[in-house]
Subunit: 262 residues, 2 copies
């Protein structure tokens, strides 16, 4: 089985032109098969504000009404996605951009309104792995925006971390998949105030202990649970690191970050 | 050689929700290999106006400054492209959306500033036919937005009629290509005031005569020249018709429009 790297970047990389440029250079130089999943960043919020549309957030999640769906589709699948792809062409990485609607890549289910109605938000239910495999076999690099569709003609806003995870799991049918989350922090920290306290490796057997010791807590809890969930479902390993440590993946002895394995 | 239909629609279809819906239904039901090229429409102009950016036009062509490039990329490659693709999924046509930057699909040259500086506008120089062929062979339908790139990491605004034409010409290496322009008018009219005066067929040998008789004149002249240019470069035939006549392409005896051949 060949290797496949699924790399996810968020707003902290996308919003800073120079950081994004350096990241894309590092990403382009990664050896082997790879997929880039990107989030949104501040541009959508800024565009909403400029248009006088109030961005509604609950628990850090955007409420996606019709106007907001249009904006995030334009910004994520339009400007950010095509800008990244054009820069990857220049860097020789043969990028090809997709939303989840393209080629039925990620079919989602609109989230049912409970206490909170998140609006046009979807949770992935199916990945078109054979199309993605064919694209990778053409030696092109999929660049995926966090917009999916419901199969009924509607687009849906979807969490980029989740997209990276479901793609990594689905593609583990064909590849040995390494899932890499580029975060603000250099990895999972033993002391959240100390960036030098990166835990280099977490085995699934240690998870409960780290939770009970409150070393993994707060916002990290669901993230780490999702990572181990991906590992349980076929992903070989999950890496959590800063974007500027990605370049060391070709020379793993220099890599700083947290590796999660079963 | 298999057949391939390259269909181009413009703002007159895109801007009207019901017209677009009917068109996509007809397009989805077209038999055989097909590619859809779409233009922009009024949404980009409206978004510019809402953001207080004055859209500059010279001779019906948009001047693309940096802010406008961002807007057209968002609107064309983002909202319009993904909206069409999601609807085609629902209709069973397996759409997959691309800009010219994706997979280096259309490499352009930034137009050199002469008397008029059109800004970030590009003229196509090369089509990645092998990628497009691979996508078609996956039984998916490329949906192409009129945004290309310069190979140096920059996106460029590009005329959608031109994109349809260069793709039709380039793909005639592999397919018998029919290029179909969906216009406001039902075809080339003998009398521009009379929609019933459609010229059903124009052979290249008749072109000079029709020009000298001023039957083809004004804005139609460059369009028809471009069509015959495509035919000279390998396209089998060019059809000019209304979007709602597209459905008759499977039953050509009912088709109303102008057919151009060598």
């Amino acid at each position: 089985m060949e290797q496949l790297k699924v790399v996810k970047i968020g707003g902290n990389v996308i919003d800073q032109e120079e950081v994004l440029k350096d990241f894309l250079q590092d990403f382009a130089s990664l050896e082997g098969n790879k997929i880039l999943v990107h989030g949104g960043g501040k541009l959508a919020t800024k565009l909403s504000a400029d248009l006088g549309i109030q961005a509604q957030m609950i628990d850090g999640r955007r409420i996606t009404d019709e106007a907001t769906l249009k904006i995030v589709t334009m910004v994520y699948a339009g400007w950010i996605n095509k800008n990244i792809v054009a820069k990857l062409q220049y860097l020789g990485a043969k990028g090809v951009g997709f939303s989840g609607a393209d080629a039925n890549l990620i079919l989602s289910k609109k989230r049912v309104a409970g206490e909170v109605d998140f609006g046009y938000v979807g949770d992935p239910v199916k990945v078109n792995t054979s199309f993605l495999k064919a694209v990778i076999e053409e030696r092109t690099t999929p660049v995926i925006a966090p917009i999916t569709h419901d199969g009924q003609g509607n687009l849906l806003n979807t969490n980029a971390d989740t997209i990276a995870s479901v793609i990594a799991v689905a593609m583990s049918e064909y590849f040995k998949v390494q899932l890499i989350y580029c975060f603000e922090k250099p990895g999972v920290l033993r002391d959240p105030e100390n960036d030098d306290s990166v835990i280099p490796h977490i085995y699934s057997s240690e998870l409960e202990h780290l939770k009970s010791e409150k070393i993994i807590s707060g916002g990290m809890l669901p993230k780490i649970d999702n990572c181990f969930n991906a590992i349980q479902n076929g992903v070989q390993e999950v890496l959590i690191c800063k974007a500027d440590n990605l370049k060391y993946l070709n020379h793993k002895e220099k890599f700083v970050g947290t590796v999660l394995t079963s």
